[in-house]
Symmetry: C2
Subunit: 421 residues, 2 copies
């Protein structure tokens, strides 16, 4: 048997995992500073939940990419493709939740699609959502969190902002019926990547005539919200965009982009997408989905919602390229090396009781090999424990980077270790 | 459509998730204090990796419980049933890893089996393992980590310890051939739960004769390691047990139990299982598996390994019963309430910039409703922001528990908030 990973999945080595832990800690601290509470839902969901027409939507590309699972009872299940549909299911099943419900969720999601750079079939997603607030205040807050998050990470980004109601109006103004606007939106979403020519071709392939396609393109060429207000007076999407920008700080990272659509069918209002300035990779995306949760509740209730998903893998890839995360190989502070046939277990336990991350040779290697081992794992200090040392209760601590050695009691050395950590 | 969870899965509400976060933080700090580094492997693995005879083992019950998945390329995949098999695969694929490799991994695992109290089909596991150390030093360290972990959690436990080599010798001493010992071991493992009579019946059902079954039972009735040494002189399992106990602190929580087997086929030496003293639920279990990784490497190399898996769900259930975790509904420190038509966004941002977890009314509710909302989420403080307050830059902070109010600048109030947090 050849040892292989499932295609599109990856291992995180200790150093990559430590980097992910640090990044996660940073993002959680931002989310909690803005009042979001953690939630966890299963990775396995019932297929009817995932495939509901107001969730993934049967027509959506994403449903073709769901990993299907069957349990022993013959129930059709699937691995979740995002964290938004499960949130809607959760809210639907917990009708006594106090609104607004602001939650963050960090978890893996699955799409059995093509594999590209920074794109896997099993990937981490970091989501924040506000459920139960229909005003632009909520969308503005989501964008503020995004700004704070990328400030914390030290990444240069651009946040493109649009509104689905504006996009629908543009399409209808081009003479295309409301029923067909969804398929047009899916094509338009690729404008930034593929260019006008290819998008027009795809629209023609989908059966639209040349005039319709060209009209859509023409209307997408305007640049300011004011121009769209003149083109489409009274349009709700335009009004929402004006309000949203008025609630946000003046920040050149916030950019209105009329062709931004975001693939999924469930968006109803503002949509946003975050791009890395240097690598033009999408790092986060989201928007308002006012109908999904209400529909899960049987359509009896309006439950507005908005949110954004951060993609961990592309963020880590950009951080990696910028080398802003120095990779740590271990969190161990000191490696204890017994000299000769000495029992160092007591010394190590004492260090640990003092809150020091300490490791010890378990296989009786010689001095040189032990030092090499500690160095290979990036452990900054080694402590030597011989018979003399045990008797005098004084030990030698060596800084592996500088070579400097200090002798002292465990307690005095511990102080040094905590300081340098 | 009726909204339902996939059977055997669960949601963690914010308060349950906060409890899990705290427990995870505690366990990670223990693991890192003992020198373990984090690793992450995918939840999806290739079926041939999971089903290899030195992993799950085709005969093992666990293989019947694997959730099967197929990708678009027709590859047979499965959801992992533990974190040990993926570790062996990881080590096999990374032959330059420096030994010993000590890692912890926290992740979900899946078994499509019967659902009981505290037992789910999707469940969290917390594993630590030492790869590349064949001596009892490693097993002793694993047990020390277990003691430290349950001390940290404040749970009363008993750790039952045995050795597979002893168990095999007991079975062979009863006249049963080596080839059949695996199936006997699976039955014996239930002795503690089902009692002698039922176990003997099951052995008879499996085709063993009365004498063989009774011999096995008789040999399992001895209590001390010394008695087994007399019964089976020179047995390696007995020698390992003696050495293991000599390396451990004298602790009445450590108990030798000759019938402990642990279900999986891959164990080769010491096995251990942790039980809650009050609820007699299994909270963790593991042991030595010296052959698995070497076999993944094509049998060309010996790679000894030992480790233990903590079950998060049963631990949380026991903690819950003891009410040792007070459930926190939110990590938000202060809820900002705008009075009248005031823009409080600047004030909230200032609090957040000072590192305070702050939330704010987004939907323009009245005073009473806002206070009720903050209280429902267990947020300890509310801050009132009216026009007067904004002008004077002095605000009123109310402690919702005591009703006590303090007036001051944001900065002075922030000091108070950090202290009380």
């Amino acid at each position: 048997m050849k040892l292989q990973l499932a295609r599109g999945t990856r291992d995180y080595s200790p150093e990559e995992k430590i980097a992910r832990q640090d990044l996660t800690k940073n993002l959680i601290s931002v989310f909690e500073r803005y009042g979001y509470a953690p939630l966890e839902t299963p990775l396995l969901e019932r297929m009817d939940v995932l495939a509901a027409k107001y969730a993934g939507g049967e027509a959506a590309d994403v449903m073709k990419e769901v990993f299907k699972v069957q349990d022993q009872g013959g129930r059709e299940l699937g691995l979740r493709f995002d964290l938004t549909v499960p949130l809607a299911r959760y809210v639907g099943m917990n009708p006594t939740l106090k609104m607004p419900f602001k939650r963050y969720q960090i978890g893996k999601a699955y799409r059995d699609g093509p594999i590209k750079q920074g794109r896997y079939r099993e990937f981490w997603q970091y989501d924040i959502d506000i459920v139960g607030c229909g005003t632009m205040q909520a969308d503005a807050e989501i964008i503020r969190v995004v700004l704070a998050a990328f400030d914390t990470l030290g990444l240069d980004v651009e946040i493109k902002i649009n509104n689905r109601k504006l996009l629908s109006a543009i399409i209808q103004a081009a003479g295309i019926s409301k029923e067909l606007s969804e398929t047009v939106i899916i094509t338009i979403d690729k404008l930034d990547k593929l260019g006008e020519k290819t998008v027009i071709k795809e629209l023609l392939n989908k059966g639209f005539d040349k005039e319709e396609a060209q009209n859509v393109m023409k209307h997408l060429r305007l640049r300011t919200i004011e121009e769209y207000e003149a083109l489409l007076p009274g349009n709700e999407g335009v009004q929402e965009l004006k309000q949203l920008f008025s609630l946000l700080p003046k920040d050149e990272r916030l950019v209105f982009m009329p062709s931004l659509a975001r693939g999924l069918a469930y968006y109803t209002g503002p949509v946003f997408e975050v791009f890395s300035k240097e690598l033009s990779v999408s790092l986060a995306g989201g928007g308002r989905y006012d109908d999904m949760i209400g529909n899960y509740l049987g359509g009896k209730q309006k439950v507005p919602a908005t949110g954004i998903a951060f993609g961990f893998e592309p963020i880590l890839e950009v951080l990696d390229q910028q080398r802003k995360i120095p990779l740590k190989k271990s969190r161990t502070q000191v490696y204890v090396i017994p000299i000769g046939n000495v029992d160092a277990a007591g010394v190590v336990e004492e260090l640990r009781d003092d809150g020091i991350n300490a490791d010890v040779d378990l296989i009786g290697r010689g001095l040189t090999k032990n030092i090499k081992y500690a160095d290979a794992y990036g452990i900054p200090y080694v402590l030597f424990v011989g018979e003399d040392e045990l008797e005098r209760r004084e030990f030698k601590l060596r800084n592996l980077k500088t070579g400097k050695e200090t002798t002292g009691t465990l307690q005095s050395l511990c102080g040094q270790l905590s300081l340098s950590w």
